[in-house]
């Protein structure tokens, strides 16, 4: 059941992004940044939290989930350390994703060569 819920929520988010790619002339950078921003806004409005409860990993993985993690981290740190936490919370909460992207991206580039 957990798997099905994750699949449905994650799949729906992907379908929305694919719809934007297919129906507009937005370039990939615009689509990806929009997804992060949308996740952040929805998180701030308190809508994304319930979606995470429902879909689990289907909702927390990038890119919508990345926006959600940014905002959640900011709020957490702000509660603990005041306004200064807004500056530190975002990167603290998303550090695993950023580090993983850099490390795995580097490993893939070293290990594999594109064939065209």
């Amino acid at each position: 059941m957990t798997l099905i819920r994750a699949f449905l929520v994650g799949g729906a988010l992907c379908a929305i992004a694919q719809g934007v790619v297919d129906s507009t002339k937005a370039n990939p950078a615009v689509v990806m940044v929009s997804a992060v921003c949308a996740g952040a806004v929805l998180s701030g409005l308190g809508i994304y939290g319930p979606l995470v409860k429902l879909g689990g990993a289907g909702a927390t993985i990038p890119l919508f989930g990345f926006g959600h993690a940014l905002v959640t981290g900011m709020i957490e740190d702000a509660e603990r350390a005041g306004l200064f936490g807004i500056l530190t919370g975002g990167l603290r909460a998303t550090a695993p994703a950023l580090t993983a992207a850099v490390v795995f991206g580097y490993l893939m580039a070293v290990l594999f060569n594109p064939k065209g």
């Binding site: 790619v21 002339k25 990939p28 580039a109 594109p114 064939k115 065209g116």
Partner: protein, 346 residues
């Protein structure tokens, strides 16, 4: 001095330069296409055995030149100019390929129109008495062009349905004053046309007006009808652009639909990823070298108009929202032994 011009834009050669030989080298997808068996060399590897796609493109261009020169039976000392162009920044593929030849070199940038530009310039140089032999060549490579113009192949971005597939190929031709082979009868140098298309994934639509303008001017200047040509070849308009070009010419009263072939739709089996057709200056160059030249040489074609079209934008200007300036150059080619039917104004 005599002036060998007719109409607004066309140069008519009193002594028609001869295209004595051609060479073509292509990548795997092109080698498996409908024209596969006609190319001189087809690689199974997109890097052509080199360590990078850029090096592979240079190798293919150099080999196309070597093959054309070998077929023409000439060496560096017999060649007075090497004209070369490609799609990469600073036309590096051409300049790297030219390193290996001890020949005066002129780099060209005409995007997909490069082969038309080169053949016209070669004809001017030869007919003007400034060269005995000129080698013209151009190349493109799918993966180097993706890196340059869109996104690196490694990035794995989904392709847009209207985007054309850049050809991995190089074509070369030797243009001389004497010898056997198809001849260049006339050349019409195009004017830049820009009707405001700014989508770099829809270059066919952007280039169609340039093609239509050049074909119209050529036929007006030469006082000819489309039927005076066996085939009118456009270079890389693709499916969308070809239809627009036919419509534009139809509005001017010229019906070329039955005579019009697009090199972008000749080189690949039609599969979804290449459904809009091919592009890149290697497309018109390799199809010309392998197919059109051979058909003219064998007599299968008596007279053909080759009109490569180029989209002259840069990735930067497109990101800044600029539209795409386009150009098309027409080269009228006749089979061996054909004579002029046009008038030369003295």
């Amino acid at each position: 001095m005599s002036l060998y011009r007719v109409g607004t834009s066309t140069c008519l050669f009193p002594e028609m330069p001869v295209i004595t030989a051609t060479g073509s080298v292509v990548g795997p997808r092109e080698g498996q296409g409908p024209l596969g068996s006609l190319f001189d060399l087809a690689y199974r590897d997109t890097a052509a055995g080199e360590t990078s796609w850029e090096r592979g493109e240079t190798r293919m261009l150099r080999q196309a030149v070597d093959i054309a020169m070998a077929k023409a039976g000439i060496a560096d000392a017999d060649v007075d100019f090497l004209l070369a162009g490609d799609l990469l920044n600073q036309i590096v593929s051409s300049s790297y390929a030219a390193r290996d030849h001890d020949v005066p070199y002129l780099g060209l940038y005409g995007a997909c129109s490069t082969m038309g530009e080169g053949l016209a310039l070669a004809a001017f140089l030869v007919a003007g008495g400034f060269a005995r032999n000129v080698v013209v060549c151009s190349s493109s490579h799918h993966d180097t062009a993706e890196r340059q113009y869109r996104y690196p192949t490694e990035f794995g971005y989904q392709r847009v349905p209207t985007s054309q597939w850049t050809v991995t190929a190089a074509g070369a031709a030797v243009v001389g004053l004497s010898g056997r082979g198809p001849r260049i009868e006339a050349a019409t140098v195009g004017r830049v046309q820009d009707f405001g298309v700014s989508d770099a994934n829809d270059m066919g639509s952007a280039m169609a007006p340039a093609f239509a303008d050049t074909v119209w001017r050529h036929l007006q200047d030469m006082s000819r009808k489309p039927e005076d040509y066996d085939i009118i070849f456009s270079g890389d308009l693709g499916r969308v652009g070809s239809a627009i070009a036919d419509d534009l010419l139809g509005k001017k009263g010229l019906d070329i639909k039955a005579l019009h072939r697009d090199t972008a739709l000749m080189i690949y089996e039609m599969k979804p990823e290449v459904s809009s057709g091919a592009s890149g200056c290697g497309c018109a160059a390799s199809v010309f070298a392998a197919k059109i030249w051979a058909d003219l040489a064998s007599g299968a074609l008596r007279r053909a108009l080759l009109v490569p079209t180029g989209a002259l934008h840069s990735p930067i200007t497109c990101q800044q929202g600029e539209s795409i300036p386009c150009v098309a150059h027409a080269v009228s080619l006749v089979g061996e032994g054909s004579r002029h039917t046009g008038e030369v104004r003295q």
